[in-house]
């Protein structure tokens, strides 16, 4: 069953399109990574999914219902981002207790264990927290709510590396105990890719790829060696990225689709070296404005 379905969804702010003609589905109980550059439309997409923002056109269903301003959807999803606002008059302790009243599956024990682990002060106010502590607190709410659809928008912003690592581990362990549909947006793919089952890559408000992480790892291959040999190879394969290495050598990233894979395997004979392409590199290359990346500016 699909938890989330986007059909031809567009969202305009003024004249610019934040999201355009986006269609995808999220299947039940998968962790999906929403990857895209800043301004790619990740937040707009997630806010539409959460029911905060109404699409300009197209159709969204969450749990087979239109999520916008829908109380039933709201009760079964949680949206965590760094803009989450809480009354400055309540302490963290009060906020956790309040959150527990709102969410039917609230795991109070988990919430308090995480709260203690990350040494948050129960008497402090949310407004006084540093950015990283805020993110940590919001994350605790997001995990403990055990909502069938859990949405994290850049959940680790401001957290230090150790806390980020702990968060991802906590997310995985809690997911193993309570499988649910989780979508996690980030621009730091390398940190989360092991955690993910699927990746939804968007660029300029449009869907670019929606694949499993394993498929994405084999989606492209890096080829380095003689420039002319690579250029010849590039005729048969879609070139994703290229970089001149100097002295007649170059590095290219090519798509490894279907039968072309075997052809690519033959390249060793041509004295070309094949290397895997890390998922975050791939994401960076495919969302790049030009094939040459930043280097093209200096040519």
């Amino acid at each position: 069953m699909n938890v989330v379905e986007f059909t031809n969804v567009s969202k305009k702010y003024g004249k610019s399109n934040a999201v355009s003609k986006l269609s995808f589905t999220l299947a039940e109980n998968k962790i999906t990574g929403l990857i895209g550059r800043n301004g790619a439309g990740k937040t707009t997409l997630l806010k539409m999914m959460a029911g905060y923002v109404k699409p300009s056109s197209g159709n969204i269903t969450v749990f087979s219902k239109d999520p916008f301003d829908n109380l039933q959807v709201s009760a079964n999803r949680i949206f965590i981002d760094h803009q989450m606002s809480f009354s400055p008059l309540l302490t963290l302790k009060e906020l956790l207790i309040t959150a527990g009243r709102f969410y039917a599956n609230w795991d109070s024990e988990l919430a308090w264990r995480l709260f203690d682990y990350f040494s948050l002060n129960p008497d402090q106010n949310h407004a006084q927290l540093s950015k990283g502590m805020k993110s940590t607190f919001n994350m605790i709410i997001g995990l403990a709510a055990h909502c069938p659809l859990t949405i994290f928008d850049e959940p680790t912003s401001g957290m230090d590396a150790a806390v980020r690592k702990d968060f991802y581990r906590a997310l995985l362990k809690d997911y193993l105990n309570h499988p649910r549909t989780i979508i996690l947006s980030s621009h730091l793919v390398s940190e989360i890719e092991d955690l993910l089952e699927d990746i939804l890559l968007i660029n300029d408000g449009e869907k670019y790829l929606h694949l499993s992480v394993e498929e994405l790892r084999e989606y492209a291959v890096g080829v380095s060696g003689n420039a002319s040999a690579i250029k010849e190879l590039a005729q048969q394969h879609s070139l994703i990225h290229q970089k001149d290495m100097g002295s007649g050598r170059m590095y290219a990233v090519m798509k490894t689709e279907g039968a072309a894979k075997q052809a690519l395997d033959q390249t060793r004979k041509l004295g070309l070296e094949l290397t895997p392409v890390a998922v975050d590199d791939l994401c960076m290359h495919v969302t790049s404005k030009s094939q040459g990346g930043i280097d093209s500016v200096f040519n």
């Binding site: 193993l176 092991d194 790892r217």
Partner: protein, 128 residues
């Protein structure tokens, strides 16, 4: 074992290989239950779907068999299958690589055999 995401080998294959090694080392015996996808996910901090893919790979090769509702178990001839596979596929391709490298470096067959003999006895001695 720590999974290496930067390796050319996909994580699910790394997981499958680690399980094979466990079986070869007799850390898990025949007809014993093997790790679930969730245990593997937790051990390696990976998505359980990835772990499941590794388990399914071994099931397809009859190294593991499924018991409905109970999980996956090591089949009777698991060791045999793994040994065969490694000999036929992995070892052969590694030998291929070694030979290729030897040709490039201008190392003769005799010299290569000597090297292999030496390594072989060392590895055997180290194991004992």
């Amino acid at each position: 074992m720590i999974v290496n995401p930067n390796s050319m080998t996909p994580i699910y294959i790394q997981i499958a290989e680690w399980l094979e090694t466990q079986i070869l080392n007799e850390a898990i015996h025949s007809d014993e239950k093997i790790y679930s996808q969730y245990q593997l996910a937790e051990m390696y901090n990976i998505n359980p779907a990835t772990a499941a893919k590794g388990l399914n790979l071994l099931a397809d090769q009859n190294v593991l068999y499924k018991k409905r509702g109970l999980g996956m178990f090591v089949s009777k001839d698991a060791r045999h299958i793994i040994l065969n596979k490694r000999k036929n596929e992995k070892l052969q391709s590694m030998v291929k690589d070694v030979t290729k490298e030897a040709v490039q470096l201008g190392v003769g067959v005799e010299e290569l055999i000597v090297m292999i003999r030496k390594m072989h006895s060392e590895a055997k001695g180290g194991n004992q």
